[in-house]
């Protein structure tokens, strides 16, 4: 499904180049549940953003199914991204001005899904993630765990092939974190590929494969 060949990412500020990723070679098969681990600044998030097509590598090749991602225009990238990839963040990142219902609806709007279908999909997600009662509340009226549930729901509502999660339990207490991880496990069992970044060994245990990063290198 995903093949990275010699992916390098650096940022230049003035005369200094800071490397975030160096010569990453990685293959991810459909249906995998992979965990990326490593200390702060190891390049985990950068890798995730590149996989999610929100950031572009400085060099190297990125193959997504049969598409050469590194050759695509911004518009094509955004098209690919919106049809196949869902994102979950540590700090939930819901849109503050929208209710739970509207937050879930927005990705469908961008995919130009028709009204009736949109309604049933949103209803389905509310039901599945047990947030029906909260649908008219705004994000700041929810607890962290609830917000993250909504964020996961928003990520899966478009039926993405790949879910990328950046420390999804980082801001949650143990019980909430567990709930979220159970959700990911469920989704993975249904066939969604999941790549998560985490510090927690416990969370990593939900996945079947671990990739360790250190200073931008894969160290195994």
């Amino acid at each position: 499904m995903i093949k990275l060949v010699d992916i390098t990412k650096y940022y230049s500020s003035g005369y200094v180049k800071t490397f975030a990723l160096r010569d990453i070679n990685l293959e991810v098969k459909e249906g995998e549940f992979m965990t990326v681990m490593g200390p702060s600044g190891a390049g985990k998030s950068t890798l995730l953003y590149i996989l999610g097509m929100l950031d572009t590598p400085s060099s190297g090749e990125y193959h997504f199914f049969d598409q050469k991602v590194h050759r695509l225009s911004e518009k094509q990238l955004s098209e690919l991204h919106k049809n196949h990839i869902g994102f979950v963040f540590q700090s939930y990142h819901l849109i503050d001005d929208l209710t739970v219902y509207e937050n879930l609806e927005t990705p469908l709007l961008y995919k130009k899904v028709k009204g009736a279908e949109r309604k049933s999909k949103v209803a389905e997600m509310l039901d599945r993630f047990q947030v029906v009662a909260k649908k008219d509340l705004f994000p700041n009226q929810l607890s962290g765990g609830q917000q993250q549930k909504v964020a996961v729901a928003r990520a899966v509502i478009t039926n993405p092939k790949l879910i990328l999660a950046d420390e999804p339990t980082g801001n949650l207490n143990t019980k909430e974190g567990q709930e979220i991880m159970e959700l990911f496990k469920e989704l993975n069992e249904e066939g969604t590929t999941i790549i998560q970044v985490t510090h927690s060994e416990k969370n990593a245990s939900y996945g079947r494969r671990i990739v360790n990063l250190l200073d931008g290198w894969i160290v195994d």
Binding site: L54, H93, D97, P107, Y110, K111
Partner: protein
């Protein structure tokens, strides 16, 4: 999708109340000012557009040529129209209007002096669209001594009675005629340059003004309009006019006379005068357009600046939307949509503001503007278009800027307000202040100029002079008695009479033959003894007219110093001259006289024209105004005394009076209105600029909260911090000054061209404008800065 955008837009408004208020209020004030001025301009531009034939109607302009001098006038004579119809093909119809301004019209006990009694050819109703409510426009003016009147006039004379077939008595000088009312006009639109209360059949003039007036008088208060066939080129007709004029029109004293055609749509703004009715100044309109554009632009810039300044708080949302699938065009649409929501909200508020401002605004412009937004589709369209254009314009830059954020940068917290955004914002602020400062400076100059004009040394004393028009021969004949009776009251200091009201009406012309030259064209004022004394004109040499010297009444002439130059005389006293008219090539002698005194130049015309040479000569038959200097501390008693005496004489005409000073100020009413609108616009422009600056400063302070906290921990004082925050803005305002001054200079130079006597452009006005802008911005920014500087650094730093 659209609903989603709307929701976000409204929630955003609610969440950021102060910001929204500043944004929408600023925009709506800008829009309201813009709309008022635009409506006024639209109204002015709409003059005479209600005539179906407007494209084919032309006003005939008389062109008098004498050597290099070309003098264009729109008053012609009664013989012109019939001659044109007879001798020129390609004229469908012609209409003459004649108006003497100031006849006494009566019905029973009700008598009024009327200034808008028009005589017009029957074809008036075929050429122009002045529909009748009662009567038949095909036959209403067929018979001599028939008249149609306006609804308002009917109300004045007849109340609610049906005026049809009733009789009005018309009195010009001592002659009286009865007119039969044959029709009542529907309301004449306010945007008509022709302004009348009565239209009487033209043939009546034959009896009233005489045969000579109808066939030989080429310079009467008569205006001629022609209607050309649909699609006929006016140029073709104009080619024939020189030859036609040469053959049929009396040249009087001019070397040559010809005619030109002025399209109806140009008459209101470009007619060379004397005006038949209302006239406008297109130059003022041009300046007003610029002012209104400035105000709207300033408001738009506010909007853009505040939106981009606030981008930090929107950045997360933008990044997220991109992460969950939004593409750039969708985001651009969202932000433009939001901007449109704001703009339309502002427009709704602006409509209320327009209603609120309208009375004040009307005061400035002379009460012309009536706004019925629902009835007038042009106004409605203007509003919708304004809201739309402002929404797009103000939203475009923020939309493009905001939608360009890279989601990764936003979400990783790497977003810094980019250098280019800050630069553009600075440029916009500078642009805003350039406009404000230019407006301040210009309005000060306009104010100075108008004051200068009004308080200028005129060469005579216009204060405490009462003017009473002499409309009737019976008054003129008993003038001497009246004068003596008036003078018995000690409060009445001096009485005189003349052919013109100085600074208000125009002088007569005459040809002069001296020892050295003949055919010198010269202005002349016919006056009574005491003219020089009553108006307090200064005598340079020689003597004033004297009652003790009996020949003075017929032979004495006073000339001003400008006239001396024209004659080429060193001294001038004792010079003999012959005064005459020239008609049909023949000389018609009028007077012979001797110069007995030289007076200083005085401004008998309005001050847009320079001092001109003039002769003063006594001729009682030419008295049209009597002017009375009264005791300023006994004004009411004086007026009552004048009135009492007038009544004792039992003239047909009722007593009426004006103050010379008021009459003269009325001449500058247009200019006054213009100045008032400029001041008004300037005030709001500055206010809106400050509103924007206030918002911008608050964001700037917010962004620098951490910096301010650290500086405070390091020991910075409150005044030091305020200075730090102010200095950024002050630099911008200072820069704006440099750009604004040449702009204002150029604008003022253009404005001053309109006047013969101009103020000098002084540097302190520019400095003042800059100073005001700097002070106002200092005040605005300091308010925000003080708040930030006094905050406890512990709080602000923890927040980070």
């Amino acid at each position: 999708m659209f609903k989603n955008y709307l929701k976000v837009a409204f929630r955003n408004l609610r969440r950021h109340k102060v910001y929204s208020l500043i944004n929408i209020l600023g925009l709506s004030i800008g829009m309201a000012c813009f709309l008022l001025i635009i409506f006024y301009i639209q109204f002015q531009r709409s003059y005479d557009n209600f005539h179906e034939n407007r494209k084919n109607i032309y006003q005939v302009v008389r062109v008098n040529m004498r050597g290099e001098d070309i003098d264009r006038r729109v008053n012609t004579g009664a013989p012109l129209a019939p001659l044109m119809l007879e001798n020129l093909s390609g004229i469908d119809k012609a209409v003459r209007f004649t108006c003497f301004r100031g006849e006494l019209i009566g019905h029973g006990e009700k008598r009024f002096i009327e200034r808008h009694f028009f005589f017009a050819d029957e074809s008036v109703f075929d050429v122009f669209n002045f529909p009748l409510n009662q009567g038949d426009s095909d036959t209403a003016l067929e018979d001599p001594f028939s008249v149609v009147i306006t609804e308002e006039t009917a109300q004045r004379y007849f109340g609610d009675d049906n005026p049809l077939d009733k009789t009005l008595t018309y009195q010009l000088h001592a002659k009286k005629f009865d007119f039969k009312i044959t029709g009542v006009l529907a309301e004449v639109p306010r945007n008509s340059h022709l302004e009348f209360d009565f239209i009487a059949s033209y043939q009546s003039l034959r009896a009233i003004a005489g045969e000579w007036f109808m066939t030989k008088h080429w310079d009467s208060p008569t205006w001629t309009y022609v209607l050309l066939p649909e699609g006929y080129e006016s140029g073709k007709l104009e080619q024939l006019l020189p030859d036609f004029s040469e053959r049929h029109v009396d040249k009087w004293s001019f070397a040559a006379v010809s005619h030109e055609l002025l399209p109806l749509e140009d008459v209101y703004f470009r007619s060379p005068g004397p005006d038949i009715g209302r006239s406008g100044n297109s130059q003022f309109l041009f300046v007003l357009t610029i002012i209104s554009a400035f105000i709207l632009l300033i408001a738009c810039i506010n909007f853009m600046n505040l939106s981009t300044a606030r981008s930090g708080s929107r950045a997360k949302e933008i990044g997220l939307r991109k992460v969950i699938g939004a593409q750039r065009p969708q985001l651009v649409r969202q932000f433009i949509g939001e901007s449109l929501v704001n703009s339309f909200l502002a427009m709704i508020l602006a409509i209320f503001l327009v209603e609120l401002f309208l009375p004040t605004f009307n005061n400035f412009i002379g009460g012309e503007l009536k706004i019925n937004l629902l009835k007038n589709s042009a106004y409605l369209l203007t509003m919708l278009l304004t809201a739309f254009v402002v929404g797009i314009l103000a939203g475009s830059y923020p939309a493009l800027f905001l939608s360009s954020f890279k989601p990764v940068s936003v979400l990783k917290g790497r977003l810094r307000s980019g250098g280019s955004a800050v630069l553009i914002r600075k440029i916009l602020v500078v642009g805003q202040f350039v406009m404000s400062i230019a407006l301040i400076a210009s309005s000060v100059f306009v104010f100075q100029q108008i004051n200068f004009i009004k308080n200028r040394e005129l060469g005579f004393n216009k204060n405490q002079v009462i003017t009473i028009p002499i409309r009737d021969r019976s008054v003129r004949e008993r003038y001497e008695l009246l004068k003596n009776k008036w003078l018995q009251d000690p409060n009445i200091l001096a009485v005189t009479a003349s052919s013109m009201e100085p600074g208000v009406t125009s002088q007569n012309g005459i040809e002069v033959k001296t020892r050295d030259a003949d055919d010198i064209d010269m202005g002349i004022i016919y006056v009574d003894h005491d003219y020089v004394r009553t108006l307090e004109i200064e005598l340079a040499r020689g003597r004033d007219f004297s009652k003790d010297i009996s020949t003075d009444a017929t032979q004495a002439i006073l000339v001003n110093e400008a006239a001396l130059e024209v004659f080429g005389w060193e001294d001038g006293l004792g010079q003999q001259m012959e005064l005459y008219f020239k008609r049909e090539g023949k000389i018609i002698p009028q007077y012979q006289g001797t110069v007995v005194g030289i007076i200083r130049n005085f401004n008998f015309r309005d001050l847009t024209t320079p001092m001109q040479p003039i002769l003063l000569k006594i001729d009682r038959s030419m008295f049209y105004y009597t002017m009375i200097r009264v005791n300023s501390s006994r004004l009411n008693e004086s007026i009552n005394s004048l009135k009492r005496t007038w009544r004792e004489f039992q003239f047909d005409y009722p007593f009426e009076f004006t103050f010379l000073e008021d009459d003269m100020n009325n001449v500058y009413r247009n200019t006054d209105n213009f100045a008032a609108v400029t001041r008004y616009g300037t005030f709001w422009a500055i206010l809106i600029s400050c509103l924007g600056l206030f918002g911008l400063a608050s964001f700037s302070v917010e962004k620098r909260t951490k910096e301010i906290g650290i500086r405070k921990v390091l020991g910075a004082s409150v005044p030091g911090l305020i200075r730090l925050i102010n200095i950024d803005f002050l630099r911008l305002v200072a820069l704006a000054n440099i750009a604004a001054w040449p702009l204002a200079y150029y604008a003022v130079i253009r404005f001053l061209q309109y006047f013969a006597y101009r103020i000098s452009i002084q540097i302190w006005v520019f400095l003042l404008a800059g100073g005001v802008a700097i002070l106002v911005s200092l005040f605005t920014v300091s308010f925000q800065a003080l708040k930030a500087a006094r905050a406890n650094p512990v709080d602000t730093l923890r927040y980070e």
